[in-house]
Amino acid sequence: MTELRPRIAVITFPGSNDDVDARLALEQLGAEVVPVWHATTELAADLGGIVLPGGFSYGDYLRCGAIARVAPVMGAVRAFAADGGPVLGICNGFQILCEAGLLPGVLRANRQLEFLCADVTVVVESDGTPFTAALTPGEELVIPIKHGEGNWVTDPALHAELVERGQVVLRYAEDVNGSLDRVAGVANEEGNVLGLMPHPEHAVDPLLGPTGGVPLLQGLVAAAHERLAGAGVA
């Protein structure tokens, strides 16, 4: 069998700046990346996954992710997510998915009023998503963060439900930014949409530091592969 590289879209908004790293990391892990500009309204039918990368879309005007939420491409992203396609939002991508209502909660300014840039340890809390299916709850991953607004919050009742349903997928091992319950990443109820503040795409090459991002992105590539195989494309 020849090597099949599932196609994954990386969406670039004006102000995205981690799209290239996301592309390089996914290619390194066996995907074919389709760069997509935010003004696109239709996505290719043979896509296996979507990444909303980090950055400062639309200059973080109004609130982080608030303007990107209404970008032309978001209708297609919603449809892909509703169809069960794996969608990964990293940092600003996480903020966009929250503002779009595809993920619960909202990301506020870090409690310490500082932009944080550090390698952090996150604990896998759920293996109920395609991104973490190959991981074991309790496993620790070291992945860098770099954000000013990573302080996730939601109302207490919804938070309890999210924990109960396993939607809190990643927690910081220690409090880093004031995030409620040390939440570093949350998924939707179906598990196919995941947002996280740490940057897995910056943690794939041992030459550059920790490689805790590899299993999460591998999970996306595997899910993309599976989706396309299911559709008879791959």
Binding site: L62, R63, A66, V70, E99, G105, V106, R108, A109, N110, R111, Q112, L113, N151, V153, T154, D155, G178
Partner: protein, 76 residues
């Protein structure tokens, strides 16, 4: 409209402003920082404009999880 961090929601910007004002010697014990958005809206009357702006706040201008908003209308 005036958009404010909801009561009880951490407002790091307000805390920074309060600390800076205190550092300048002002007796400020609390500061909350929000946003002011001025809009001109075509509408039949003030009530209609108010209703329209309320929808804008709910859909885009404020995030109800962390922000409250207050609408003040008047003729242009």
């Amino acid at each position: 409209m005036l958009i404010r961090p909801k009561a009880g929601i951490l407002d790091p910007q307000g805390e920074a402003v309060q600390a800076s004002l205190a550092a300048l010697g002002f007796a400020v014990t609390s500061a909350r920082v929000g946003r002011l958005v001025d809009l001109e809206v075509d509408a039949d009357d003030e009530a209609a404009a108010h209703a329209e702006v309320e929808r804008m706040c709910a859909e885009l201008l404020a995030n109800p999880l962390i922000e409250s908003f207050e609408i003040v209308t008047g003729p242009a």
